[in-house]
Symmetry: C2
Subunit: 221 residues, 2 copies
């Protein structure tokens, strides 16, 4: 049982990803291979490979001979990504919901409990971040649709920095806390169509909230 040995490329990818998601590297900013290599104490090879990976994740644009830049998502692109998420997550839920066991639903409720507590405590970072994701993942956990799940994860990561930014600037997403409970209720009663429709609205609502801010930012430039 040897310890997992991470390759430099993977470590570099994680480092750069976090820099982008945290906003330390701003959208549009060029990512110089040599600079990153020196900063992270590696050669340019793993930096290049990490950048290629991040491009696949949609976090980076890599143009031959020109170099890489952190992707800059326009309001339109955010719009599309959230629509895709709504579509794909509803599809996951549709397949998962019939397989959700009572235990799954209780576990989801447990997460929801923490989430509501975090909300009450004013920790929007935690509530709209980690716990929110955990709750959704739990509901999708029995979908048995690995490729769809991977897509959802990718777009989730891609949205993450905008959600974070929104939390920072607007103090959280105004998603009503009871929305999650409503969704869970539909899952319990196995009301597939109601659950999926509600989920779509839930995601689209978050989108509208974020987009409003983004449009304002685009105008103020």
């Amino acid at each position: 049982m040897g310890i997992e040995h991470k390759t430099r490329t993977q470590l570099v990818a994680e480092a750069i990803r976090e820099k982008i998601l945290s906003g330390e590297i701003k959208a549009g900013e060029p990512l110089r291979q040599a600079a990153l290599a020196e900063e992270l104490n590696v050669s340019r090879i793993p930096v290049r490979e990490a950048l290629l990976q991040l491009e696949a994740e949609g976090l980076v644009n890599f143009e031959a001979h020109k170099g890489a830049t952190a992707t800059m998502l326009s309001a339109d692109q955010i719009d599309e990504i959230f629509d895709l998420r709504a579509l794909l997550e509803a599809e996951l839920l549709r397949h998962s919901i019939v397989n959700l066991t009572p235990r799954d639903l209780l576990e989801a409720e447990a997460i929801l409990y923490d989430l509501e507590e975090a909300t009450a405590a004013g920790d929007t970072q935690l509530a709209t971040g980690k716990l929110n994701a955990e709750f959704h993942v739990k509901l999708y956990s029995k979908a048995n649709r690995p490729q769809t799940a991977e897509l959802v994860a990718m777009y989730g990561k891609n949205s993450e920095r905008y959600v974070r930014m929104h939390i920072l600037l607007a103090g959280g997403i105004k998603t009503a806390p009871e929305e999650h409970r409503t969704l869970l209720e539909f899952c319990k009663t196995k009301d597939i169509n109601a659950a999926c429709d509600f989920l779509k609205k839930h995601i689209t609502g978050a989108k509208d909230d974020i987009k409003q801010l983004l449009v304002k930012m685009e105008q103020s430039q």
Copy 2:
């Protein structure tokens, strides 16, 4: 206006991609960096970078220290990919259909004409391949959903080898030729729901056809 200069990585990616799609490299087969490098007269660096790109496209699995293999899609995975395609292509069509001009529809009809001619001439390769794709792309052309379109293109590429294989082994997909014409008709009358529902069935039908063959192949192993 300098000529477009392709990087070795891009050329290598194209070469390997075609090898996989054509079946020259079979699913599951390991892709040795050194061998590919020598064969293509480059160093291992562009080979590695090409393999990373192909992994992002879903054609290759790249495991650290173990190496890359051509992805092997199970019947289940094929199933899921075609479901995703149905979902995403319907979404594209939904957004495109209202913007399709009479000219767009005539161009689609022109492609359809060629397609039907190819079918009549027995050229299923052309009919289910290039022309079929062209027809679909035309219908989606006014969706204004670049990221969704990119996903659709990716999954299209991913399905391609199985479609090709199916054409080879079963002499084409049994998609009724009139299905395309029905779809076009719904687009002309701007009957969005009918068009999208029909498109989903159209894609799912192709899936069932291919999956049947795949299940048989998996059993015979």
